[in-house]
């Protein structure tokens, strides 16, 4: 929704000063105009696709969320304003899913930050075998999430799996808390390398001279890390955290394969999927979609406004 409206207003305001600028620089105007036209032309396919596939569907999901719309009972479709929101927001399943999602997000991102930082330091400073480490850490990033999830599921299946056997053969995936721990492990394994790569790019910005000087002055390794490395890479850390938090918040693949949302382990995405595809309830599914969109917007807002996370690309926009 927001994309289409901002697009309209911005092109509206952007168009009016343009002729003024063109008149000022008469000599440049032909080349400038051509450049501008080419810019729009080159961006059009990308912009139109992104807006067509997200803009209208978002508006449409707002409309759907205000209707009773169950594909099992298409005759009973009617406009009910905010009743779906009341239904969802008063449902214990929804709040359980919100909690599960929030806890999974906070726990996994926190552990990923610590592990990712260690991994980044290893990759950055390794004296031997740096290439091997960098290559192998990319494997969890590249592997299909569903494949990794199946690997974890079979590992924890009593009888089949080595981990289940090692821990005495308890079916861990059939209880809420142990299942969520397994889901967290799977999620952390898969996404820590990505975090580490982003952090490693930040580490490269820390000048070696500064660290050496601090070492000369007697700062310990830990002091150097906290007082020099972390402050300098703060922007990189915040960007990595923002990306991973938003990504973790939409957790779906791992949960689908590992628990399918049973025993109260549904995330908000899982619950939406179940209502929509299994329950064929478009009204409720869309309501949940809108609520998730709002929650993600709040998270992004908090990161960008409160923590001052520099949104990538927002600073320069390519000016040189």
């Amino acid at each position: 929704m927001s994309q289409t409206t901002t697009e309209d207003t911005a092109t509206g305001t952007g168009a009016s000063p343009a002729p003024v600028a063109a008149r000022k620089k008469v000599a440049l105007s032909e080349g400038k105009k051509a450049e501008r036209r080419l810019g729009w032309l080159l961006c059009a396919p990308a912009a139109l696709t992104m807006i067509a596939v997200t803009g209208w569907p978002i508006l449409y999901s707002l409309l759907l969320s205000m209707q009773r719309f169950d594909l099992k009972f298409p005759d009973r479709t009617e406009w009910i304003w905010f009743d779906n929101y009341v239904t969802v927001l008063s449902s214990p399943y929804w709040w359980n899913a919100v909690w599960v999602t929030v806890v999974l997000t906070v726990v996994t991102v926190a552990i990923e930050l610590v592990l990712g930082m260690s991994l980044a330091l290893i990759m950055h400073r390794a004296l031997v075998g740096r290439g091997i480490v960098r290559t192998t850490t990319l494997i969890p990033y590249g592997i299909v999430t569903v494949v990794a999830a199946f690997s974890w599921r079979f590992a924890w299946t009593p009888g089949t799996g080595y981990l289940a056997e090692a821990l005495g053969g308890d079916p861990v995936l059939t209880e809420k808390v142990p299942a969520l721990i397994v889901v967290s492990i799977a999620e952390i394994w898969k996404t820590t390398p990505f975090m580490a790569l982003l952090l490693m790019a930040g580490l490269a910005l820390v000048p070696d001279d500064l660290l050496k000087a601090a070492a000369m002055d007697g700062a310990s390794g830990w002091q150097r890390f906290i007082k020099i490395t972390v402050p300098i890479m703060k922007p990189a850390i915040l960007v990595a955290l923002l990306f991973r938090t938003l990504d973790a918040f939409r957790i779906f693949d791992n949960l689908f394969v590992l628990t399918a949302g049973s025993q109260g382990t549904s995330s908000v995405s899982m619950l939406t999927y179940n209502n929509l595809i299994k329950g064929l309830n478009l009204g409720i599914g869309s309501t949940m979609s809108v609520l998730i969109f709002i929650m993600v917007a709040i998270i992004a807002f908090v990161f960008i406004k409160l923590f001052g996370t520099a949104a990538p690309g927002s600073d320069d926009g390519g000016k040189r």
């Binding site: 961006c43 449409y60 031997v128 394994w189 070492a215 478009l282 949104a311 926009g317």
Partner: protein
Amino acid sequence: MAGIGGAETTGKKVGWGVLNAVVVIYALFPVLWIVSLSFKSSATLADGNFIPREWSLENYQNIFSTSEFTRALINSIGIALIATAIAVVFGTMAAYAIARLDFPGKSLLVGVSLLIAMFPQVSLVSPLFEIERSLGLFDTWPGLILPYITFALPLAIYTLSAFFREIPWELEKAAKMDGATPGQAFRRVIAPLAAPGVFTTAILVFIFCWNDFLFAISLTSTEQSRTVPVALSFFTGSSQFEDPAGSIAAAAVVITIPIILFVLFFQRRIVAGLTSGAVKG
């Protein structure tokens, strides 16, 4: 982790060796386990041993003998390749404009693609499900290709515009001095220089499309357009009493091989692409 600028003593090297080994084991353990599972015979499948007691190719023969898997493999390859090609072409055009040209609405485009990169994909699933059903796109290749292009575009635009900024400006100016139009400068001068960046982006976008599960499971319903990750989750044994774990493991290995090959061959480029797109912006 400590030891900044210290001498490369043997002790340190051993320490690094151990750390490296820990990292490598961490990264490979789940992968080796699924490979091992895929080579177990049906008799030893459920023995819980990390290394197969009996090696067999039975699982691979099983998955390639049914259309369920082969069809899904064709769908996965076709959909991911088409989506990658379109996303990279659109992304290259837009990223060139963003990196090189001055035009109103540029920062807006960057903002919109950032929004989409952060977008909760599940929010699109409900409306797209209904829209694609009414347009007849549900359970077709284009029905998946469209959302893939959309979500790959921000990735492509960021990565590519970061690469494009590294390209020497002067060459384009020189081409223009020699009488080339901006369009010609783009095709003749910049495009060949940008090829490595474009290639890297293509790999990242392909991995993204190859990986997707949410759209694939929500917007397909039959073998006609189901991709491998979805087909995997629907695998059942050839009889009700057979454990599908072996088939799932074999299929999982088959779709993991191309990714691991990409990663091994293009490690440096993938790292550069991922970090340039996200950090330097």
